[in-house]
């Protein structure tokens, strides 16, 4: 009988983390930012149909970077989870906190139990009645979860983008200002101009009745950025 080689658990985890990080590093960054009426999510995305930002529930949005099929799967299970919960209890009982925890557990157990970890990083954001009640959760490939205020960045070069935003972020900005700052932050790591043709933008606007999520169509992105050009 051939004995398998011994590999320390520490080594296994390190290898997996490195593998996942490599996968995510290839992807482009994505920014979520609080503005006057809620939260704006901005990503560089040349595709008009393969979205990175999605509606989950009345006040909750989802954003993912990394392997498309993997975060798309997570998004769909998230929608199933919240719709079931909202149907069984009530719409007000669905919170980003419980969804983010469910994600964290699911992603964490894939990381420890499966051979291949998920090569993804996701954000679960929720708009509240005031900006103080907003919630933004950042979940990593190993299931580790952290909550953010003001802004959150995921993706390959998140650190640089975060550094830029730390210096430039202002509270209570208008939608146009927030969009302009978001794309400027993304451009720190992208060496090309960003316009309505390669930006994906969506907002959670607390002033909307019912479902707060809205995609900003290209024409509106152009209009919003016009005065800065």
């Amino acid at each position: 009988m051939v004995l398998p080689y011994y590999v320390s658990p520490e080594q296994i985890m390190q290898d997996k983390a490195e593998y996942a990080r490599k996968g995510i590093a290839k992807g482009r960054s994505l920014v979520a930012m609080e503005y006057r009426d809620g939260i704006i999510l901005t990503a560089e995305n040349p595709s008009t149909s393969l979205n990175k930002i999605w509606e989950i529930y009345d006040r909750i949005a989802f954003a993912g970077v990394g392997k498309y099929s993997e975060f798309e799967n997570l998004r769909k299970s998230g929608v199933r989870y919240v719709d079931t919960k909202g149907y069984a209890y009530s719409r007000e009982d669905v919170t980003a906190k419980s969804l983010a925890n469910a994600y964290s557990q699911a992603i964490g157990s894939v990381f420890t139990q499966e051979v291949k970890p998920l090569e993804i990083e996701i954000l679960v954001v929720e708009v509240g009645e005031t900006n103080a009640e907003n919630a933004m959760y950042h979940i990593l490939f190993d299931g580790s979860i952290s909550d953010r205020k003001q802004f959150a960045v995921i993706g390959g070069q998140a650190e640089e983008v975060t550094r830029f935003l730390r210096d430039h972020y202002r509270e209570n900005s208008s939608l146009a200002d927030a969009l302009w700052l978001s794309q400027k932050a993304l451009r720190v790591v992208e060496n090309k101009p960003l316009s309505e043709t390669n930006l994906e933008v969506a907002i959670l606007d607390r002033n909307r009745p019912g479902r707060k999520f809205r995609r900003i169509p290209p024409a509106e992105i152009r209009d919003l950025m016009k005065s800065y050009l």
């Binding site: 509606e55 997570l74 199933r80 989870y81 079931t84 069984a88």
Partner: protein, 263 residues
């Protein structure tokens, strides 16, 4: 794991059937309701829909009855199902409200999973399948009869669908009413309907029909001027769905009643 479901399609109803069957009403096994109403069950009464030039109105009275008792004066029978459609329900109130809520979640779920809305035809067919699922309950006397109305963004017109107990779906061209006072409301609309029909005129016909039904049918509630309870009316047009505010409804109802004073 919470996020792992066996079902992985885009229907919420199917998801519940496969993974969370305990959330669906089960009337099939061992459930039987005494036919002679020993157990009182609330029933919703008159609902109707009417097409006009810009779209479609969908409306309902506010009364629910348990046998000969009035169980509610303020029941809501018209539900928004998404931005361009609504369902009105008559029949056993409990299962009917369940169905409306389930159908609403079904449409929203599909839209979120797929990233696009179902067509109006698609929504109408989905509802037919769900009514068919209710068939065992219908045999027990828990009959649910909905009207589904919406604005077809492709055809640029309002459309009305009616259903029978076995899930048969039929499209109505101009107007339809059902529930215990449905026949009376239909008669009124038949006499007053003409083309082309503007919004203001159409709303008058809707309320006229509901008031006629309340005068002929014991299960249908008329406008209650003392307590300010009036029928619910929603309109669906290219701009989406909107509630008709209570003030204009009250005004028209009062004018209709006043007109009948000397008849």
């Amino acid at each position: 794991m919470i996020l792992n479901t066996r079902y992985d399609g885009s229907s919420f109803f199917e998801l519940l059937k496969v993974d969370y069957p305990y959330l669906l009403p089960t009337y099939e096994k061992g459930f039987s309701l005494p036919i002679e109403n020993a157990v009182p069950v609330s029933h919703g009464t008159t609902i109707l829909a009417l097409r006009y030039q810009e779209g479609v109105f969908i409306a309902g009275d506010r009364r629910a009855v348990e046998g000969h008792q009035i169980s509610s004066k303020t029941m809501e029978k018209v539900y928004k199902t998404d931005d361009y459609s609504a369902i009105a329900i008559a029949g056993a109130a409990g299962p009917a409200m369940d169905m409306a809520r389930l159908f609403q979640t079904e449409l929203e779920h599909y839209e979120k999973i797929e990233g696009e809305r179902l067509t109006l035809e698609g929504k109408a067919n989905r509802l037919a399948q769900m009514i068919r699922q209710n068939l065992p309950a219908a045999f027990q006397g828990l009959i649910v009869i909905p009207i589904f109305a919406g604005y077809d963004l492709k055809r640029k017109e309002g459309r009305i669908f009616k259903y029978d107990v076995v899930g048969g779906k039929y499209e109505e061209t101009d107007y339809y009413a059902t529930g215990s006072g449905g026949k009376d409301a239909r008669n009124t609309m038949k006499k007053l309907y003409r083309k082309p029909l503007g919004e203001e005129e159409a709303l008058k016909i809707v309320l006229e029909a509901l008031i006629d039904a309340s005068e002929e049918d014991a299960g249908t509630g008329g406008p209650d001027i003392i307590r300010d309870i009036y029928p619910n009316v929603k309109k669906i047009t290219e701009q989406g769905i909107a509630d008709i505010p209570e003030a204009p409804i009250a005004e028209i109802c009062k004018a209709i009643i006043e007109g009948r004073r000397n008849q």
